[in-house]
């Protein structure tokens, strides 16, 4: 058996592996991912039924910019970060992580250290205000030549054929791409 071979030939690694396995079991039990204890449970829970879904869209001169010509990585940076931005904005401009930080650190470290740790983990109002400008910069990098006024909107797409986009967009922000 591999583990007994490992125990015989490289004892330190054997104990490291056992420790890692224990950590993996613990985090699987708790249901939280802590890199490098990966939880591979994507798409495992039954997907909720819905008639339509909200997506982000980019509008320029009244036309939608096709984001699917970007790579996964580019799309994720542009669109997933919008989700993170909205999560803070829709939470009265308070980062949802703030409660976690207070839960884990408040009272355990001094006030000065707490403030430093808080600022390193939580998104401030200033970061939120600076986000549209960052988004515009990254947009310019991945869509070279696509300049001018850009609107980032949320819109609904029907999940029934022919998957039509709803005509009503809700504006997230406007950004000017030089």
């Amino acid at each position: 058996m591999f583990l007994s071979k490992l125990y015989r030939e490289w004892r330190l690694m054997f104990w490291c592996v056992l420790l890692f396995a224990a950590g993996q079991c613990f985090f699987m039990y708790k249901g939280i991912e802590n890199v490098p204890f990966f939880l591979y449970h994507m798409y495992a829970k039954p997907h909720p039924s819905a008639d339509s879904v909200t997506i982000f869209a980019i509008v320029q001169d009244g036309k939608r910019v096709n984001p699917t010509r970007l790579s996964n990585r580019e799309q994720e940076l542009l669109f997933n970060s919008l989700g993170a931005y909205l999560a803070v904005r829709n939470n009265s401009n308070t980062d949802p992580i703030d409660a976690d930080i207070a839960n884990r650190l408040a009272g355990r470290v001094g006030a000065g250290v707490y403030q430093t740790l808080f600022s390193r983990l939580s998104n401030s109002g200033a970061a939120l205000d600076a986000y549209p400008a960052w988004w515009g910069r990254y947009f310019r990098a991945v869509f070279p030549g696509q300049q001018g006024a850009i609107a980032v909107v949320q819109t609904r797409v029907s999940l029934r054929p022919p998957f039509a986009l709803s005509g009503q967009d809700s504006l997230l922000f406007n950004v000017f791409v030089p």
């Binding site: 591979y40 449970h41 909720p48 994720e76 997933n80 970060s81 390193r120 983990l121 990254y138 998957f163």
Partner: protein
Amino acid sequence: MTSTAAAYYPRSFMARIIFMWLFVILVYFFLHHGMVSQWEAPVLKSPLSDNSFWLLHILNIPQWLSRHYWAALGFDMLLTTACLICIFVPDQRWFTGITVVGVWVLYMGYCTAAGKHYAQIGYLLPPLAFLALSPKKFTLSWQLVRYWVCFLYVSAGLFKLYYGGFSAPDHMSRILAATNADWLPYHADGVQAPVIRYLIEHPGAAQWLFRLATLADLSLLLGFFTRRRDGWLAGILVLFHTANFFLLHISFMEQSLIFAPLLPWARWAAYFQSIKGND
């Protein structure tokens, strides 16, 4: 690896190929604005509740790196150069260490900037084994990485069974509809769209595809008992990720290095050795 217990994996040969493979992935990242210096200094961070991410953020590493262009560029160049050195000078540990640390920092920095905790991890695991230099320790490390990969997929299959995705009647068609909601409006024609639309409109067929995918995950269980079927398992994983790419647009390139622990390295090394010998 040959079946004799004393046989070791050909570390130098493997290092050249694995780090070449990783280099291609880094070039892919570069071409798709995925290196730190190309992120345009993101302002938001998403460490979520992950303690490792918290530690890295408390140390201010991803924030500082991504917000200082020259530091980010230096990091990208150091990572890429270290990876190149690992190809040409495989029998060293320093640059292997720099590459390993570099790709993990790149991964975590990217996840926090994109607000996505489940980015593809294939390129993170195989390079770890090369931190071991001696043939014996490298062979054991490579086997550990192989078991880790098998575990990840088996656990994915078990999660699908445990949480009920496997038995739900229309789980896959809903995933396809939700994932393709922002893709289908731009791709009415072509090869992919009709297949995706058919599967969305036929939940039964889509769900059997999901069950096949779960079985593909679970097939890696075989990897815990024998290495003789690794070729088959690698083939199954390639098919699995090709289908993910085709139907769900999940990046194949970033994940591709995860196949490496299941490939017949000893046979390939012997083959290249024989070609060299004939020359």
